[in-house]
Assembly symmetry: C2
Homo-oligomer: 381 residues x 2
């Protein structure tokens, strides 16, 4: 028997009290029972998004939500600006290109962040741009972008702000309405703590206005049609009923803990994780604005093949973490600390990391990382 | 306590042995464990589709699969032919229109079917058309279209045949490769017996060739990209892992029963259902080519508000069936008989119908419908 643990930045672990919901008999989606459930889900999503706008539930992955944002806001030939700080930041230009939209990229080094002044200067050079698309938290590097400042730059230049908050919404504070974020997107297998399958997207009044004239083609992802249905507690197409049943319970858990308490918990766990890896002599990739969703750690020079770290953790010890992706493959590994996550997930991950580093020939004083995590955790209580 | 029963043509009931899989801990999708599971799923899907082609698993509803078919095969300005025999047949023109594709519709009266000669004549009048899009089984009316003949007409005119088999694939015989169907689509909550969330689509060599030059924009639904990933037991975007875990077991069940036996079971249950409602003096909507997925029954003139039939069945007796949709609302009700379905689901549905008809003032001799179902069932054994 090998006990297994999931410490990846999506899918995140599903709470035991929610898992069992997915084993319940299906409910049909064209029934008053579903409508009542969905009405409560809609209210819960607004709470997590901190918005009065309708938060639309789509049946797709987070990438589907990003695709929907682009195809519902722009027209072929339009120009947009994207902030590309990693694998997900790079995706905006790919989606735009598919729809004949011109994307001007602000390239950000892996793990770095962007400053409002850089964005502002870039915007000045691209006066025809209609929007700034960015990641609140770039999952591939563990670095945050300064959402509030980016949104402010966008608003002053009369651009739409399109925020991929897939590992940010419900992770740390992103008050959509207060900050004036025009589009915010997340996915079910992140802070919502349920399996992959749903994406969520909310649009500001300005974004809905842009939607009226946007000519990029869309059918499955027609957000105006979805909004019309979802206001009536229905969906345009068959919804992911079983996932929505679990989501209903997950949203209750978030509401019971309180959103600000959820954010504090994530921040404490992130700090404990950073303290632990630093105590082990490892370097964090994103030092400027580290995300409270995920910590990316550089593979130390003593370990030639960095891919062996996540592989050993999984195959020898049963702990699944994430490695680096694309050009960061083998160069970093990523420890997640959000969603259904507590201090003992951190100590499990760090304990496993200590043994793994030892196995791979990196000198480790056992307990040093775990001790630093615990000390940080107590200090921030 | 009121026991509840789901007798709708999607979602269909999930087998008890599969339900519990959805309560299992999540597996991460970028792991050898997922890849092994997905490799077996891919083989199982080919078995059900009766094809050597790759059957792509998409994270969306069946409508997403239809959208993917259109956006991956055609270019703005292209012409296609669709067979519109109901709510789902009407969807082809709507999707085409979203992508700037011209759709010529063969209108078929609700419950009627189409003849190969009509299709052939229509094709002759539209020599620029590139494809015929149709439903193998129109779920909204319970009527089948003659797939083999339509595909033959398409092939002779060098058109692609695009078959929405959402309530057909795995329900009755549709040998994709043998008949030369160019595109076949289905969804997870139908004959696959799992919750909604996945669509499946397979393309013939001819369809893949059309894909190479098709210019309609697509990103999330880029099938060429999906194929490249899925051949490596991965997916382009985050997959619906929990649903795929359940699908793995459902496909095993179908393989153990044997596809031809599954088809025979559905046909027997369909015959028993038709015998039952006719014994109760009710009329079937689709008499020409009734589907073995679902039987649509006309609301008798003695019942003024036809919507009361499904409502009473559900609210008084706990049995959820489907009513009519759009222009058929209140005029028909629909009894499903495929997926995880046996004779006692039929007797349950008919018993409930008998009591409901009685409650609504329609004269019923209790047991007459059930008796006819049983007699039919024994006769066809």
């Amino acid at each position: 028997m090998k006990k297994t643990y999931l410490l990846t930045p999506g899918p995140t672990p599903v709470p035991e009290t929610i898992s069992s919901i997915f084993a319940r008999p299906l409910i049909h989606h064209r029934t008053p029972g579903f409508q009542k459930l969905f009405e409560e889900v809609r209210a819960g999503l607004k709470y997590v998004f901190q918005t009065k706008q309708e938060v639309l539930t789509l049946l797709c992955s987070g990438t589907g939500g990003m695709d929907a944002a682009v195809s519902n806001l722009f027209s072929p030939g339009d120009e947009i600006i994207s902030i590309n700080g990693g694998k997900f930041g790079a995706r905006w230009a790919k989606i735009a290109s598919a729809y004949g939209i011109i994307c001007h990229e602000i390239k950000v080094a892996p793990g770095a962040s962007v400053e409002a002044s850089e964005v502002s200067d870039f915007v000045a050079k691209h006066p025809s741009a209609k929007a700034i698309c960015f990641q609140a938290s770039e999952t591939s590097t563990g670095s945050c972008m300064p959402t509030e400042e980016i949104v402010e730059v966008a608003r002053r230049a009369n651009l739409l702000s399109v925020c991929d908050a897939i590992t940010a919404c419900g992770v740390f504070d992103l008050p959509m309405d207060e900050w004036g974020i025009d589009v915010m997107i997340t996915g079910s297998q992140k802070a919502m703590m349920i399996p992959p399958g749903l994406a969520f997207i909310a649009l500001s009044d300005r974004a809905w206005k842009a939607n009226e004239t946007a000519k990029a083609p869309r059918f499955y992802f027609d957000l105006a049609r979805e909004k019309k249905s979802q206001l009536k507690n229905q969906t345009a197409w068959t919804p992911g009923t079983s996932l929505i049943q679990g989501l209903h319970e997950a949203l209750k858990m978030i509401q019971e803990e309180g959103l600000q308490n959820v954010f504090k918990r994530h921040e404490r766990l992130a700090q404990a994780t950073r303290a632990a890896v630093q105590a082990l002599g490892l370097e964090i990739l994103a030092t400027k604005r580290p995300s409270s969703a995920v910590t990316s750690v550089k593979v130390p020079s003593q370990i030639a093949d960095g891919k062996l770290i996540p592989r050993t953790m999984r195959d020898s010890y049963g702990v699944t973490i994430a490695g680096g992706q694309d050009e960061l493959e083998g160069k970093i590994f990523r420890l997640s600390h959000f969603g259904y996550c507590g201090i003992f997930d951190i100590t499990t991950g760090i304990s496993c990391l200590e043994m793994t580093l030892h196995d791979l020939g990196y000198p480790v004083q056992f307990g040093k990382g775990v001790g630093a995590a615990l000390a940080s955790y107590k200090k921030t209580s």
